[in-house]
């Protein structure tokens, strides 16, 4: 009882990265709290889910397998979580801040009368003292998230209502297997006890999902471009550099908005979070919302013709010059000096 729950998102029988990332975070929070971590899988053909999630330290996996439960629709998944949480009374429930999690989370939280903090960038356990009521709350979930367009960071708590619910964007937490042979228990549930026919009022007529074209989250080297790159044509320089040194291309929101590159490649608070070995920021000024998604990169190089660009303060190397001048020189050196 009072364990930590993670809702697992599943597409074509594969658990989404964001859910595995949450399981990793969930495991460490559960260790701090001394409770179990339980995972919920709702969908169809879920036989291999256990194999996928147990290595992340799942103690109990709740499986709800039915043809009508995939693809995802709001009401049946809500009904299952509301009933399951009603019985199990989790202290914490986590889900991805994805199209699904942001559709499901608020509905569940409303039904349970519990709070929900969207898009957390960090989750911690800590105490809280309510001075007026002279009351101390132990081991609350600190739900830390940017607010007001990223200009401030707020720590949100949920002292009285359970579960404490939070969503987290993909890539914000790290995914890490704790033990390939971790032993968890699988519980298959009887769907008819959780959903009614009335839950299936919304039906999916057509569905076209694209496979992701990039893997910037997993790339050890990222060449990122901003508005300063100037044009889609100039971005070719970044692709060339990435190709020779073996990296992926990403960018700022301004670059994406200008149509220089696809939305999938946006890095930052409203894009992906990356932590590569090397991050080369080309023509990026370094606003808070961008830095939020790349500050944990090991080595940061900034190429910017403004010596006072804010990104320079967090960079290891600052090259004060234009993208057009610097990148060809890098490419040339690398080509000449490696086999």
């Amino acid at each position: 009882m009072n364990n930590l729950f993670v809702y697992c998102e599943i597409e074509d029988g594969i658990v989404a990265d964001v859910s595995l990332e949450l399981l990793t975070k969930g495991r460490s929070l559960a260790n701090t709290l001394g409770c179990k971590m339980e995972a919920v899988a709702i969908g169809h053909k879920l036989d291999s889910i256990g194999k996928q999630v147990f290595p992340y330290g799942v103690d109990v996996l709740h499986v709800f397998d039915d043809k009508r439960l995939a693809p995802y629709t709001s009401l049946p998944h809500t009904s299952i979580l509301v009933k399951l949480f009603g019985e199990e009374k989790p202290q914490i429930a986590l889900m991805g801040a994805t199209s699904i999690g942001r559709d499901l989370g608020p509905r569940v939280s409303s039904a349970l009368g519990s709070g929900l903090t969207a898009d957390c960038t960090s989750l911690e356990i800590g105490d809280h003292e309510e001075k007026k009521a002279n009351k101390v709350y132990k081991d609350l979930l600190y739900q830390i998230r940017p607010a007001f367009g990223g200009n401030i960071v707020a720590t949100i708590i949920n002292p009285d209502c359970r579960p404490q619910m939070a969503t987290v964007r993909e890539g914000v937490m790290k995914k890490e297997v704790v033990d390939a042979n971790y032993k968890g228990e699988e519980k298959k549930h009887d769907i008819s006890k959780f959903v009614s026919d009335a839950d299936f009022v919304v039906s999916v007529i057509d569905r076209q999902m694209e496979k992701s074209k990039t893997n910037i989250k997993g790339s050890p080297i990222i060449v990122a471009g901003g508005y300063g790159v100037g044009s889609k044509e100039n971005f070719q320089l970044l692709y060339d550099l990435a190709a020779v040194i073996g990296g992926e291309v990403g960018g700022s929101r301004a670059a994406v908005d200008a149509g220089y590159l696809e939305h999938e490649r946006q890095i930052g608070q409203t894009g992906v979070t990356v932590r590569p070995k090397l991050y080369i920021a080309c023509g990026i000024s370094g606003q808070i919302q961008h830095i939020a998604g790349m500050q944990e990169s090991s080595i940061i190089i900034s190429v910017n013709n403004d010596p006072n660009a804010p990104i320079n303060t967090i960079a290891d190397y600052v090259i004060t010059g234009s993208v057009e001048e610097v990148l060809p020189k890098m490419i040339k050196y690398y080509k000449q000096n490696t086999k």
Binding site: P106, G115, Y317, T320, G321, V326
Partner: protein
């Protein structure tokens, strides 16, 4: 079939254009420095509603907004673009509401409006980016929901067909009325204000605004009753004060901090061939690249 549509719209500080003076020295937000605007995705929501009104003659579009007295501007903005009326939900007791308390108050107001086929709102408000109020209102009213709508394709025989824009694709779904729809920024932009409607509604006011006005509107408003914008309090919508505002909010802000990034000691250099060669050499030697 004519439709009764409620559009939920919020007045928000324009967090996209945050200037240097947006933060006070003590690290709190200087709301006064941020212009108040119609939440962008709520304009997309309004447009979807107005398109349905165009296609289904006899339909009405009613705005519902919760906020301080000046949020009446949102209703006027809607009227200028073709909405038929609006309600301002305003009360000190609503202050400090998180999304749960907000959706409770809004759902009580919708219960009072009572007669509706569709509730359309924005996906999310840019002050919090939570995207929670739509689904929570749906849940509180016991309605189904379709989120991230990019286009309401059709409403016919009590059914609605919607194209949804998801992170990695698109979906077409069908639901039954009444239902809550949340609209994405990728949907059609809202039509501009219409000069005729501006003429018609520029004096539209709430009771509070009339009281504060220096001009006497009594006669104008009795001749043109449509200029009266309805204002509702907690009591008007029979809401439980305990479930509103701060007291009805399970989440609390424990702490607010400025964002501070760890500055590094950086090496700065000019882009000469020599400097770039040295840098690349170092990166290859320490196996960062290659």
């Amino acid at each position: 079939m004519s439709l009764k549509i409620i559009v939920l719209a919020k007045q928000v500080p324009d967090t996209r254009n945050v200037g240097k003076d947006a933060m006070k020295a003590d690290g709190t937000v200087n709301r006064a420095a941020l212009p108040a605007i119609f939440n962008p995705e709520d304009l997309n929501a309004l447009e979807q509603a107005l398109q349905l009104k165009d296609e289904h003659p006899g339909s009405t579009v009613t705005l519902l907004t919760m906020g301080p007295a000046r949020a009446a501007e949102i209703i006027r903005e809607g009227l200028y673009r073709g909405a038929d009326g609006g309600y301002l939900l305003t009360d000190r007791a609503f202050a400090g509401a998180d999304t749960l308390a907000t959706s409770y108050a809004i759902s009580m107001a919708i219960r009072k409006i009572k007669d509706y086929d569709l509730i359309i709102c924005g996906r999310q408000a840019i002050d919090g980016d939570t995207a929670q109020v739509g689904p929570q209102v749906a849940e509180k009213l016991g309605l189904s929901q379709i989120t991230y709508a990019e286009n309401i394709l059709q409403v016919k025989d009590g059914k609605i067909t919607v194209k949804r824009r998801l992170e990695r694709g698109v979906e077409t779904v069908e639901g039954k009325l009444p239902i809550v729809i949340t609209v994405n920024g990728s949907a059609a932009d809202c039509r501009p204000r219409n000069a005729k409607y501006i003429q018609q509604y520029k004096h539209a006011k709430t009771v509070t605004e009339k009281q504060e006005a220096t001009v006497d509107y009594t006669e104008l408003f009795s001749n043109r009753p449509y200029l009266n914008l309805t204002e509702w309090s907690v009591a008007d919508v029979q809401a439980d004060v305990e479930q509103c505002g701060l007291s009805g909010s399970p989440t609390k802000v424990k702490k607010i901090e400025n964002v501070i990034f760890q500055a590094k000691e950086s090496k700065t250099f000019e882009p000469t061939d020599h400097n770039i060669d040295e840098l690349m050499k170092e990166l290859i030697l320490n196996h960062t690249i290659g």
